[in-house]
Symmetry: C2
Subunit: 376 residues, 2 copies
Amino acid sequence: MFSDGGDGTGGARVGVRIGDSVLDLARALGDEVFGEPSLNAFMAQGPARWAEVRARITDLLTAEQHRGPAAATLRPLSAVRLHLPFTAGDYVDFFGNEYHAANAGRIFRPGGEPLTPNWKHLPIGYHGRSGTIVPSGTPVTRPCGQRRGTGGPTFGPSRLLDFEAEVGFVVGVGSSGPVPVRDFAEHVFGVFLLNDWSSRDLQAWESQPLGPFLAKSFATSVSPWVVPLQALEPARVSPPPRDPEPLPYLADAGPWGLDLTLEVRLNGQLVARPPFAATYWTAAQMLAHMTVNGASTRTGDLFASGTVSGPERDQRGCLLELSWGGAEPLTLPDGSVRSFLEDGDEVTISATAPASDGTRIGFGEVTGQIRPAAHP
Amino acid sequence: MFSDGGDGTGGARVGVRIGDSVLDLARALGDEVFGEPSLNAFMAQGPARWAEVRARITDLLTAEQHRGPAAATLRPLSAVRLHLPFTAGDYVDFFGNEYHAANAGRIFRPGGEPLTPNWKHLPIGYHGRSGTIVPSGTPVTRPCGQRRGTGGPTFGPSRLLDFEAEVGFVVGVGSSGPVPVRDFAEHVFGVFLLNDWSSRDLQAWESQPLGPFLAKSFATSVSPWVVPLQALEPARVSPPPRDPEPLPYLADAGPWGLDLTLEVRLNGQLVARPPFAATYWTAAQMLAHMTVNGASTRTGDLFASGTVSGPERDQRGCLLELSWGGAEPLTLPDGSVRSFLEDGDEVTISATAPASDGTRIGFGEVTGQIRPAAHP
């Protein structure tokens, strides 16, 4: 979603990123659904229409006779403003990566089992706040809140502010009952990048017994681009081996692992390359689980993978893991040292996936800079 | 919100309940904001406007010269269809009643401390699913899901289905930063009744470490009427004594306890009279807490109190407490016995509050009947 710049979202419309340019889809295809200020209306049209438009765009960009007119609608990326690509309905955040879940368990519950007994049986998730989802580039103010103290809780700016590199999925066609694993691609339009900013000190104090709340609800940043699931066929891989086999409603139906390589940069310096293919639960399983109780979904409902991590230290998708809860601070290439985020720090998550022609599809990036806490 | 009947929400518009009739506000006041299919546009206009409209309605119903025209717009309640009163944004469910929280702690963690260490320091809450909020009268299908089993989890219809009698609050004027306790009435438009249907077997298995998810997300029922906060001045009471004093940002600013008496009926038989005034955390504290990390709110954002219970057995607002987790089944006046809900059971929650003229304000009701599980 892009506009000609300036403040607000006035004139926002659908764009397709072509290298360092944006194709103005409403003009290029002469279809007013792409003049809408979010992808929702188009996403609701369903997979046959998604495929048709994809084919038309490919045609437009490759066929000799169309190059002229299509080229005329290209705008340099540097000249436009990027926006939230969808109007978000409900937002569910999963916890689907075994490396992350086990590391978090070891850090938060030392001496205990790294994974809770339910972890291998269902994709654990919780609802997040959709009203605080912001587009890439929006500054993130350090949240204030309660943290555990020796003589009772204390209040102030979070001391343990973190990012979480995640992959998000957006529902195009809603549902009114369970969505079987095999129907995943009938409902989910596409894939984007998400930073689930997290305050570890708020989280440690507030989360029992009902889960994270203020530790996550201050901001969630998403990339301005949604990569259609239909463009990711070459990226489909088998998920990690299942042990034990999950219940039948969660059985895999085709390889819905996705071979995305994420890159996390802190102040421009690469700190992690989390491999999304290592994520235990697939997005198809997440959607099947989320709806197996009969819960409906709507166009624009989002869900995210949870922090993406891999077996190696430099594959961990959050500072909690990278610094092992602060016990092993991270030294960046420029010599600076971090356990958690400092004011002014900028976090940028990008990703690529294999394309059918041997090149790689870019997901753009989601970036955000930490601003100092606003003292009440 | 009401319409002339039939399916769907076509023609839905704002109505004011007067006894067993509905006043068609768009016609009575000649103001198109009340012809909108939700209260959101009116709620966004703010407290001065809310007060003005309240005064005009009172005038219309009492002044001799207006009785004729106003009476002409009255429709019998039995002839109209009732709808969701708002377009819901984010939905937060709190856990703000000490009797409920302590009872749940004793049942779920026997032998441990009834309350977690954070409970008296902050209103614990979590985000619920706003896309499955349904209006009173919508049937509720028993959810399927995973529950703990001896040889691993099993899948099937929930066996421990419950209601939770709660009081909901809807944001009229959104906010972009912390909302102090004293500013509560500048932002919250009104109060409604909510049934947070809960599956206790799904909840017990899934909730660690990130809180309830599918146990709650299948359906949440709300009353079709919103009682303006401005009508509840006579119901304001001091909340229970605070021990310990909460942190300064949660300090009470005026008595924001509300003396609502709820009534819960199961198949028409009174099973509980939960006293809302016994709720430890006030709605003003809930909103202050929910936003203290900087999280914004929008018109239509909802939050609910959590199950309302009192010190007596017949004041408990859910079957988990009323049957003590099934250990002490409840015998109804007609001789039927319940630990949890059976298919066909109908739950109706109503409430009243003191009015300035010595009568009581009615909140209408939220009702729903359990339908058998849909087997996949």
